[in-house]
Symmetry: none
Subunit: 204 residues, 4 copies
DNA sequence: GATGAATGAGGATTCATTCAT
DNA sequence: TATGAATGAATCCTCATTCAT
């Protein structure tokens, strides 16, 4: 009995996730307005009414399409392990972030939409703003440390962090298809440059 | 007689531009779908039907909102004067571009939308892609020259150019209110870093 | 001076007729609703506003498109010369009517429209109804005379007249292009049959 | 369960037919353009949106208003039983057709509209043209046989068939109120005359 | 909970008519 | 009188949301 309930619960959860992922994909491709609930239902292979069983409204679905992945992946950006030197830490971070960006184009495009149409999604935009600040708070100490150690050029570390995030989000996710593409390696170098690496601190 | 016709013609053109600028502003704030023609008409202070006598459709209005400023300002990005050294040229460019970005937030946000929802605006996206390539073609020689002169670190110049453009477009146009804000100066430094300036070539 | 005024008057009239004929042609092809005033103006090669200088409204233009040719050609149907025998008279009539139908397809099609959508054009329909009655009144004596002389089978002459008119109006004006087409000759024979010609009174 | 689904299905079908019949009636009275979807919805007692859940567009609704009755009643015109003699067969046919015309004025008026405005409904017109040809093919053998037996005057049987159909379609459906009206009997006689009945073959 | 039909508010677009020049 | 820009009412159609089954 408990087993059955559990299974049912799992299946419920899976269906919810299926809908959410489908929605994320469609929203990211076509935008909020051009994506209909009927599209989502059809693409996900569930009934039209089901979407409303799992999500209160279209807006709620869109919000979750952004907020859930954001929550799940926050730690990638906010909690990182420090290596021997700041430059090593930052380079490792960049690698992880680029990998993430390469693999989560849909998520990134939704972020781009929210930023580009902030007036339409004020609370989502605020959430992203909050994330930006948290990211700054997390990254600044490393940058400062690197600057003190002479690995990075001096400059407002908050500015560096924001620029870096803008750069990631602004990436034209076109070539992005294969995460192993050499372009991504090149982009990592570019990203690293934003930190102002001094000669001999890893910038090729 | 000719004078009257001329005057009428001028007024016609002014009205058209009024509508276009209003549309640009609203599209940039709320996005394509959330902006109604009635909104545009009301904001511009013209009648509902007038919008349609100047623009064939909502889509045409949106396209012109992007294409006309793009055409008018292309030269800022594609035709620039070279100074003594590549690093000076690039720094001058960055100043001009940042100024432009600071003053044309609406235009930039429309570009962001098109990029974020390329499936919805395929031809506009293509146009932007073309621009990207032209920009690369224009900028690469300077970058190469700088690399040869030792002012810039080595690296694929196309990648540098694309990164730089992405960085500009990706800028979060939030703080951007006054074009004279110190943030813009900081952003110029960040932008310059993408070119991989070597020590002594102007990166503070 | 008087000469000039006259000429101007003539030109005025000609322009009016040009608009009217163009309208008739377009109304007949596309129907009342699918024909726009702008279409008419463009086809006639006059300015948009001109149409309203000559006709109070779209509806007035449509009405005139029907009523003026109706008035002009009424006599063809209502005042005819009687020949030696009723059968000869009727056959001459039929020839004239068919010729008219072949040459005035546009006019006929407008009539068809009014009849098919009588609720939309009640007064025009009434006008056609009146014409139908006048036609009956004009034709019945001939038919009666023919019946009395044994040339035509007996039967309500009003019914014959109405049937004949319905037949003319109902003709599918498709093949009708060249008025000299053999089909028209065939149709004359068919039309004559409605009068119930007895053997030896001209029905081949 | 199956019973419920079946019932629902039936009700769905009934609602669809209700809308279709209402539309047919309004289209026939006022014409395509002057009939609004809102009119149809109101007359049928369904919501505005419902019309669109049963029919893709206004145009589709109009097409079905013609095509469905056409399909359903084709057999009346194309498959008939032959009696002793061609004249008897034709007279029986005429009785059936007149009865049909008297009872289906709305359908006939839609046909008249399509014919009168063929440029607007080219595919429907083509469909009617096809029907015309099928009707000719079906009727000609009878006519020929009658001509050979001396019951009908000679003449191109295709012409006779087309004339007869034009006559039916061209009938002014005004008097038509009660199908039992004596006018219809008179019209049958007129219709029969088109076949060129010789003396003694049933033409009164 | 699952389904999908029903609803109607909202928005793009058309076009007759008006009116200033 | 000629012109054609301005206006906004009217209409088709979409689609989020509700709700009965």
């Amino acid at each position: 009995m408990a087993r059955t309930a559990e299974k049912r619960e799992r299946s419920r959860h899976e269906k919810r996730n299926l809908i959410l992922q489908t929605a994320q994909s469609l929203f990211s491709e076509n935008g909020y307005a051009a994506t209909t609930i009927a599209d989502v239902a059809k693409s996900a292979g569930v009934s039209f009414g089901s979407v409303f069983s799992y999500f209160e409204s279209k807006e709620a679905l869109f919000k979750q399409s952004l907020l859930e992945p954001l929550e799940q992946n926050k730690s990638i950006f906010l909690r990182f392990t420090t290596l021997e030197t700041p430059s090593e830490t930052v380079q490792a971070l960049i690698r992880i972030h680029m990998e993430f960006v390469a693999r989560n184009a849909a998520f990134l495009r939704i972020i781009q939409q929210v930023i580009a149409q902030r007036a339409q999604f004020p609370d989502l935009f605020e959430e992203l703003d909050r994330f930006n600040h948290e990211f700054q708070d997390a990254l600044c100490p490393i940058i400062l440390q690197g600057q003190e150690m002479g690995e990075f050029s001096s400059g407002d570390p908050n500015l560096v962090a924001t620029s870096y995030l803008s750069f990631l989000i602004g990436l034209r996710l076109a070539y992005a298809d294969p995460p192993g593409h050499p372009l991504w390696t090149g982009m990592m170098v570019m990203a690293y440059r934003l930190f102002g690496p001094t000669a001999g601190s890893g910038n090729s």
